[in-house]
């Protein structure tokens, strides 16, 4: 691959982003040639690869200069010259933390899968491939490249759910696959449209995100394109009413699969909304603000209400994700610095806390062999540490101040309130509902007398599980007490994102924005 020079200022730097993206894939290639009988070798190798990737992600963090807006560490290369396909990776304050989150949770995913023996080689390879695709999705600045990574995610995840899940795994895997594929069909069409539109307008067809931002589109076209992007990402987020694949997929997936699904995959949807919908179609974003916000609000309340009544603990956590991701979208579509920063932070938070919840549920399942809350009860008596950790994480998930969930939730509410008070007031009901379903679930699982006498012999956390949970808990506490290192990097990126949507909030010099032409002929959700 020939490295082309970045157009304005040829910067020579170490290609951190390329390395961090493809390190897991390289690890997977090596794993493929290792003998499949050497189970421990595979596990250790996968762990090593994910740890190295984490190291690389941290190195990227240190190479990233905070306070600056725009994309940094851009790696650029020509891919197919005649068609102007480019390989462009770049990072800003939003994607930076998504990548870190991914790299941070992957070792946990590998560790929690330590007991998987059936076809473990392929399982671990699937995870490594998945990691590359996830990191690539967050870093790609070329729409075609993004789409490739976005689609590449599906296959390993499909295999993980369908191959190593529980009873209804095939149903869940196919449902997951179909929902996402249906969404991305729209995405592909919209991307191609932009590509050819760029050809007729800029003189050369391109998928380059930053170049496409300069397009000027007819107002109705921009809105249709917004919707096409929106559907693809709304499935992934997931927004009501496209969320129904999620409880099934989460419930049936193996523990590590649920972890990654909840912690990272859903974020790609939200990330896509922030990066592409806001970035490419600012006018349409404003136009659909109420529409999207109301969907998010429905999701917030609806997810919480449905979670209330679940008896399957994994399903309960899954529905709580619907509610939490609603907060992310609500904050995003407030178009205020606080709201969007809160949304981005909430993505990280949700990754940590819901990810940890899935890990804990998996650990419970390994011991009790059930996900039914009715079959648990009194587990705090035999597993005090696990119960304590569970409570800690649950509290983070319901937004207890001092833990990470609060900071994000509060900023989202704040950012939303200053724009539309009613939205914030409705959203705050979920704060109460979250306490109800989480604590009720906790009570049914942990409190009371032992419902199954055999559970009295169950062991508490072991060393491996400590190694999984302690870093996540540390992260939860750190962000809760001292979120500044994150927020100070997120904020400039957020301002940059809002530069066209909400210039007043952004307080940045408006350079070039996608313009729209013509009069609004298209009217699904006109603002009141």
């Amino acid at each position: 691959m020939m490295l082309a020079q970045a157009a304005p200022a040829p910067v020579h730097h170490f290609p951190w982003l390329t390395v961090v993206t493809f390190a897991p894939l390289a690890g997977a290639v090596v794993a493929a040639v290792l003998p499949s009988s050497a189970l421990n070798l595979h596990r250790l190798w996968a762990l090593l690869v994910t740890l190295i990737t984490l190291g690389l992600a941290l190195a990227t963090l240190s190479a990233y200069s905070s306070g600056a807006a725009g994309f940094q560490l851009v790696d650029r290369a020509v891919w197919v010259k005649s068609l102007n396909f480019n390989y462009i990776l770049g990072v800003d304050g939003i994607s930076l933390f998504m990548v870190l989150l991914t790299a941070f949770l992957m070792p946990a995913a590998i560790l929690v899968s330590w007991r998987i023996e059936r076809q473990a080689k392929y399982y671990l390879i699937a995870f490594l491939v998945l990691e590359s695709a996830m990191i690539g999705s967050f870093l790609a600045l070329d729409l075609l490249l993004f789409f490739l990574f976005f689609e590449a995610l599906l296959f390993p995840m499909y295999l993980i759910i369908g191959g190593w899940g529980s009873e209804r795994r095939v149903y869940a895997a196919v449902k997951f696959f179909l929902f996402t594929m249906a969404g991305s069909a729209f995405l592909l069409v919209a991307i191609l449209f932009l590509y050819f539109r760029a050809g007729s307008q800029l003189g050369h067809s391109t998928f380059d995100f930053t170049e496409l931002q300069r397009l000027s589109l007819p107002i109705a076209t921009a809105r249709w394109l917004f919707l096409a992007f929106f559907v693809a990402f709304a499935v992934k987020v997931p927004l009501f009413p496209l969320h129904t694949w999620l409880p099934d997929a989460h419930t049936e997936a193996p523990t590590a699969g649920s972890l990654i699904l909840a912690a990272v995959l859903l974020k790609i949807g939200a990330y896509g909304l922030i990066r592409f919908n806001l970035g490419l179609f600012p006018e349409a974003s404003l136009h659909f603000r109420s529409f999207v916000s109301i969907l998010a609000l429905i999701g917030i309340v609806y997810g919480a209400v449905v979670a209330l009544i679940q008896t399957d603990i994994k399903r309960l956590v899954a529905y709580s994700s619907v509610s939490h991701l609603g907060f992310v979208v609500l904050g995003t579509f407030a178009f205020t610095v606080q709201g969007l920063s809160g949304g981005v932070l909430q993505m990280v938070n949700h990754g940590l806390s819901t990810g940890a919840l899935f890990l804990l549920v998996g650990m419970l399942y390994e011991r009790t062999h059930t996900r039914d809350l009715g079959q648990m009860g009194g587990l705090a008596l035999t597993m005090p540490v696990l119960a304590g950790v569970f409570l800690f994480v649950a509290l983070s998930s319901i937004g207890l101040p001092g833990l990470n969930g609060f900071v994000g939730e509060f900023l989202v509410l704040l950012g939303t309130f200053v724009v539309t008070k009613v939205y914030a007031v409705i959203a705050v009901t979920a704060v109460v509902l979250a306490a109800v379903y989480m604590l009720w679930a906790y009570q049914r699982a942990m409190h009371g007398a032992l419902s199954v006498p055999d559970h009295g012999l169950l062991p508490d956390l072991n060393l491996r599980e400590y190694a999984i949970l302690v870093p996540i808990m540390a992260g939860i506490l750190f962000i809760g007490v001292f979120p500044k290192p994150l927020l100070s990097k997120i904020e400039p990126a957020v301002r940059q994102t809002l530069v066209c949507v909400s210039p007043a909030q952004s307080q940045m010099v408006v350079t070039s924005c996608p313009r729209v032409t013509g009069s609004p002929a298209f009217d699904i959700a006109r603002r009141p």
Partner: protein, 625 residues
């Protein structure tokens, strides 16, 4: 010296962290000693800070200690910052002082519990959050403490989580207070959107400029938080259930400190309440209604702890009433006095339970305990008389000032109602005393006074309850009112009504009437109170069940809500939403099934297809040319 302020909460936090992480390794009572020591050190630090504060001139009695910026996005900035001013110091002293005594009591009380160290970890954690709440320099940090104490309350009510009732009560407490908390959260956001800051110093001095309606909304949102946390109507239902927790918890959290946070919030934010015309009146009315409601309910209780719980609700009502009348320092005074005498009463109740078999809490199965437990009885009597409002005990001065505030503000109706509340207070508290410690023994077992540590705590708190009155001998020129003046302003001069002395006499008279009535019924022997219970069974039951408010909630709100949730989950989500989406899938696959029949598998059919296509294409070409 105010640099010490952050250490006041930090030391209990360190204690909690050490105990949580090293838990079971602490043998015997060492964990309890460690925790008590942490709170005692915090108390010492608070005293030091207090000392430096009083050594300064009145106008300079305020300092801030900012640690670091907590959340900062755009124009929103909030620091982790502590505030040392008279109000926060008084609160910190109360929390750490009473807290240290209760910790000491618990060292023996909790002895032998399998989760001994964890109990003290939670207690220390609670003290930490409570101190954060009272020492915070901005509303968001206050909110941190606010939610934190809620968490500790949850953990400690549900400390014996093997019991379903305890686990239920814990969850109920957390959820119910969270309803108020969410309103408070919105209130804070609303506040920020108006003032652009959440620092007390940037909000409160400008509050008077708020429009009337805005101020009312903001004040009501804050007050909603206070209502939840301080168990006022209509969010009071969690507090009686919270008695499932160990008794020291009830004493510390559900009597002396946490539940008074609402009063602290109102007093702290009084400028906002004042900016609204009606907010203070609402606060006063809610407080008064709650006081009378809880007083009546307390009369119907047989469970000693539930009786004390309702009495707490009632006393909190008085505090809100005082604040609503503008008598902020009187409200805080009552808060401090209440912390002492209610702690004594709870710890006394704990001693009784400790002494009787099976942790007996039913007062109808006690009686005459003063002979078996003389020291407990003496301290209890101090608490009882203080609460009933008999001079010269602390409760007299405090409650008298609160009640008098109504008369002095010229609101005679409210004053009468408050007097009625005071009467009820004397009545139910005396009833409880007589049923427990006087009359004929009805109990089993051989009760005895508690061990020395518990006795020490009881005596110290009783001394406090007796002597705290010196803080506020006069509503205008007492020590506490003068000390608090920089924060809450000078006590308002009386505009109407009789003089202070007359009001005091009326107060005492009302208290005596209450005590005498109780004596007549429960101790004099002239009335068979057991027969009365049967005769007025339905009224008794209504009182005991708190006018069925809780039953109403569980029947009209919780039950239907569960049904609705089940409907949404199983009908809407499974059938309607998922049904629609998978229905689309099924439509595709069934139409594919129809299309499938075109695939006969017979090669000649396919040949027809090819020919058809060829003729069509050729036909098109021919026709077009």
């Amino acid at each position: 010296m105010n640099i010490l302020a952050p250490f006041i909460p930090a030391i209990p936090l360190a204690g909690a962290a050490v105990l949580l992480l090293t838990g079971p390794r602490w043998r015997d009572r060492s964990a309890g000693w460690l925790a008590s020591a942490a709170v005692a050190v915090a108390f010492g630090l608070a005293v030091t800070v207090f000392g430096t504060l009083v050594s300064r001139p009145v106008t300079l009695r305020l300092s801030h200690v900012s640690l670091f910026e907590w959340i900062g996005v755009g124009s929103f900035r909030v620091d982790i910052a502590f505030r040392v001013d008279p109000l926060s110091t008084v609160m910190a002293l109360t929390v750490t002082g009473v807290g240290a005594m209760i910790h000491l009591y618990a060292v023996d009380y909790m002895r032998g519990d399998p989760r001994y160290a964890r109990f003290f970890a939670y207690m220390n954690l609670f003290v930490f959050f409570m101190l954060v709440l009272v020492l915070a320099d901005n509303y968001l940090l206050l909110y941190v403490g606010w939610e934190g104490v809620g968490l500790c309350s949850y953990l400690l009510i549900g400390f014996w989580f093997e019991r379903k009732t305890a686990a239920d009560a814990a969850k109920k407490a957390f959820v119910t207070t969270r309803i108020g908390d969410s309103a408070l959260l919105i209130g804070l956001i609303f506040m920020w959107s108006r003032f652009g800051s959440l620092d007390f110093d940037r909000v409160l001095p400008h509050a008077h400029a708020l429009a009337n309606g805005t101020a009312t909304v903001m004040a009501m949102l804050l007050f909603a938080g206070a209502v939840g946390k301080s168990a006022q109507l209509p969010l009071h239902v969690w507090l009686p259930d919270a008695m499932e927790g160990p008794t020291p918890v009830s004493a510390l959290i559900h009597a002396a400190t946490m539940v008074t946070a609402g009063v602290y919030l109102v007093v702290r934010s009084h400028q906002i309440f004042e900016a609204s015309g009606v907010a203070l009146t609402i606060v006063a009315v809610v407080g008064l209604v709650t006081a009378i409601y809880a007083g009546l309910s307390a009369i119907g209780q047989d469970d000693i702890k539930r009786m004390l719980a309702y009495s707490t609700i009632s006393q909190l009502g008085f505090m809100f009433f005082g604040a609503g009348m503008g008598a902020y320092s009187a409200a805080i005074f009552l808060l401090v006095a209440h912390a002492f005498f209610k702690a004594v009463l709870f710890l006394g109740a704990g001693s009784v339970m400790h002494a009787l078999p099976d942790e007996e809490t039913d007062m109808t199965r006690m009686g005459g305990l003063r002979r078996a437990m003389p020291l407990t009885a003496v301290t209890w009597v101090v608490g009882w008389l203080a609460m009933a409002g008999i001079p010269p005990l602390s409760g007299f001065f405090a409650k008298d000032q609160v009640v008098a505030a109504a008369s002095q503000a010229g609101r005679i109706g409210l004053w009468y109602a408050a007097l009625f509340g005071a009467l009820l207070t004397a009545l139910y508290e005396t009833r409880g005393t007589f049923l427990t410690f006087f009359g004929e023994p009805r109990h089993r077992g051989h009760p005895h006074d508690p061990p020395s540590l518990m006795r020490t705590a009881l005596v110290s708190l009783a001394v406090g309850a007796a002597l705290a009155g010196v803080l506020g001998l006069s509503a205008t020129s007492g020590l506490l009112p003068k000390f608090l003046t920089p924060v809450v302003g000078p006590t308002k001069e009386a505009v109407a009504g009789p003089s202070e002395l007359v009001l005091s006499i009326i107060s005492v008279a009302v208290a005596l009437v209450g005590i005498l009535t109780a004596w007549l019924v429960y101790l004099s022997g002239r009335i068979d109170w057991m027969a009365l219970r049967v005769r007025f069974a339905s009224a008794k039951r209504t009182f005991q069940r708190g006018f069925y408010v809780n039953d109403f909630y569980s029947g009209a709100i919780v039950g239907p809500a569960k049904l609705a949730a089940a409907f949404v989950a199983y009908v809407v989500d499974r059938r309607v939403v998922d049904g629609t989406l998978t229905g689309i899938g099924r439509l595709v696959s069934s139409s594919a099934g129809a299309a499938r029949r075109a695939q006969t598998g017979l090669v000649r059919t396919y040949a027809v297809g090819i020919l058809l296509g060829a003729t069509a294409v050729l036909g098109y070409l021919v026709v077009r040319s």
